[in-house]
Amino acid sequence: MITQALILSAILFALGTFGVLVRRNAIIMFLCIELQLNAVNVAFVAFSRLVGIEGQVFVFFVMTVAAAEAAVGLAIIISIFRHYETVNVDNFNLLKW
């Protein structure tokens, strides 16, 4: 089951990556990043079956960071939305030459 869980993790991660690449809605891109984080979590938990409790401790930290990231990220999205009235990342392309 560990192997299966790791493969699940890999596929979920790729799925999240695909989502980040093709979606334009900032919030959904964010969700896809969370999906990637979760995929990593699955891998950690699966490895913790092999190695020990440290894997789960790592997952705990990942979740903490995810919470912090969500708070700040969503605050940024809100600020951007106030400015552009949209969360479509195609519209915030000012940061280029």
């Binding site: 990556t17 980040v20 690449l21 093709v22 334009r24 990342v89 195609d90 280029k96 030459w97």
Partner: protein, 721 residues
Amino acid sequence: MDLTLTAMLLQGGQEAAAHTGAGFMPFYPGLILLLPLAGFLLNGWLALKHAGRAARVTRVGGTYDLDGGGRPATHTLPTWIGPGVMGLAFVLTLVNFVGMLGAGLHDPVVIHYWTWMATGTFTVDAAIQLDQLSMVMMMVVTGVGFLIHLFSVGYMKDDPGYPRYFAYLNLFVFFMLVLVMGASYPLMFVGWEGVGLCSYLLIGFWFTDREKSDAGKKAFIVNRIGDVGFLLAIFVLYRTFGTLDFAPIMGGAADTLVYGGGLVTLVTLFFLLAAAGKSAQIPLYVWLPDAMAGPTPVSALIHAATMVTAGVYLVARSSVLFALSPVGSAAVAGIGVLTALFAATIALKQNDIKKVLAYSTVSQLGYMFLGVGVGAYAAGVFHLMTHAFFKALLFLGSGAVIHAMHEAYHATHRHDDPQDMRNMGGLKAYMPITWITMWVATLAISGIWPFAGFFSKDEIIWYTAAFAGAENAPFPGLYTLYWILALAAALMTAFYMTRLMVMTFHGRNRTGEKEAGHLHEAPPIMWVPLAVLAVLSTVGGWINVPEELQASIVGLGGLLPSSEWLHHWLEPITAEAHHIQELQLGELAHSAPFGGGEVAWALISTALALAVVLATSQLLGRREVQSPDADPEPTGFAKVLANKWYVDELYDAAVVKPIQRASRFCWKVIDQGIIDGAVNAVGYLARGFGWFGSLFQTGTVNTYAFVLSLGVLVILGAVFF
């Protein structure tokens, strides 16, 4: 200057003396340095305080508030401070000199005050060295300096920059004392640079005059060329000895360096470059005639008596090194004798009284170089000393003349050149004291017995001859040539000096009727120094009468005192060098290259010089001197001489213009073209890369994420496959 430094300088030299074990107890030697410095600070403060008023007086005219003596009130304090500190310093020096005289000091006394800089293994102490050489120099600097300060009180009394003048003058004396008293090359270099600075400041003292400030710059820049040599020599010395203090270098040079080796030759040639710059020798002499732009007492003090002799002092100080390097010594002597002859030729046809004296100075400095170049270090220093007396006297005398001419022209609002001898003539009637004292100096510089110049110059010439005939003389033919040239230059000296005297003081008065009424003798504050110097110019040579001469008719059968006193006095300094010389060259010759002993040649030279003086005065006295307007342009060789061999023009064409062109090339082609071009090219390159990179910067997050993922994929693929 902080208080600790002051306190340290004020402490006596007893501790240091205790180390050397000699009986000599230095008496507040730090104070000798400190007094001129204090004078500088006080006068400088006064100068700044009065700068505004001085500037206004200079710009819009008007007068100062006058004190009780009819002088501007701003002049009162500097009048006392400037010469005062010098007098005190001279007294102190005299006390120390007497102390040293009585103690029979052998090893130099080095007094450490504090560590100036310490980096790694390199340490330089702020230390002064008291020995026979530095004592002679100190005596000259403070003594002649004091007299010139006194003279300046009269000469500069109407100048609005009076306090500033004395500030500079005091500062110069301070640096000159640092130069001669410093116990290591770096300290000497401090003094070296300091006097250069003061020279620049004083040459350009009347800086509102473009020509004069340019002259200052010229002196400064030409001196820099020499300073490079000094620095390089210091580097090489440090590399070789690991220290820069005089004592260990002089003591260890004979063991460390190979006689005639490349290293010591390199050092001596570098030192020669430095000395040539400071002492106005070929090829760097060109600044000194221009330096006459400064006030005449400055010319007397800096550009005749003291600073320009620093090169001679340097060679004498480094006598061991030069003794170890026959090539270096030969170069020094060659440069010296060539300069002596060359400058003398130029002096033949100059009409500006100060220019004549300037070239004369260059010429006499050449003699000194010749002296130290042939190993007669004592003779070089001897001539340095006597030259300080009579050349200072000449300059001060010319200063008195110029002063009188200037006042006469000023009174009649005439704008002719008060320095042109063609405007003078017949001044002996108006200023007899100046006339007499200047004749004394002229006879002295011409080498007429029994004046000071005779003994010193004759000794140099004789040593050249003796050196040429030494057992193992390195370049006997060359030294013989030097001897002949030196003789020739001596004769020319007699000629141009007599010409100067005749044109200035004899013949018909050419100042004009009205102006003649305003001509007058200099005030006592000015002629007293002249008189003192005249006495010194007369008797100054008697301290070092060679034994052979003393016994002969020249010495009046032993009537003249102190047989070779200076020689013996400087023996502790020159012993090592003489030892090396004796070891390498063997016995010096006792007769000149073409026969004849010392006494014979002394008689011959003084007779010849006397003949030249008499002939010149007779011939020139009869010829009518034209005023500048009427004077025809010289032609032929005379024109070449009058134009100073076109050396300035040559330098301009050979050095200045090419440098200018090279600089322009560096600026336009190398800097703007290549370097800036390279920088710009880098910029364009970066812009190009940036443009290329910006193609990936769409501003859309997805693109970045895609590139990132692709990169991750590539790396993963590279790692796993």
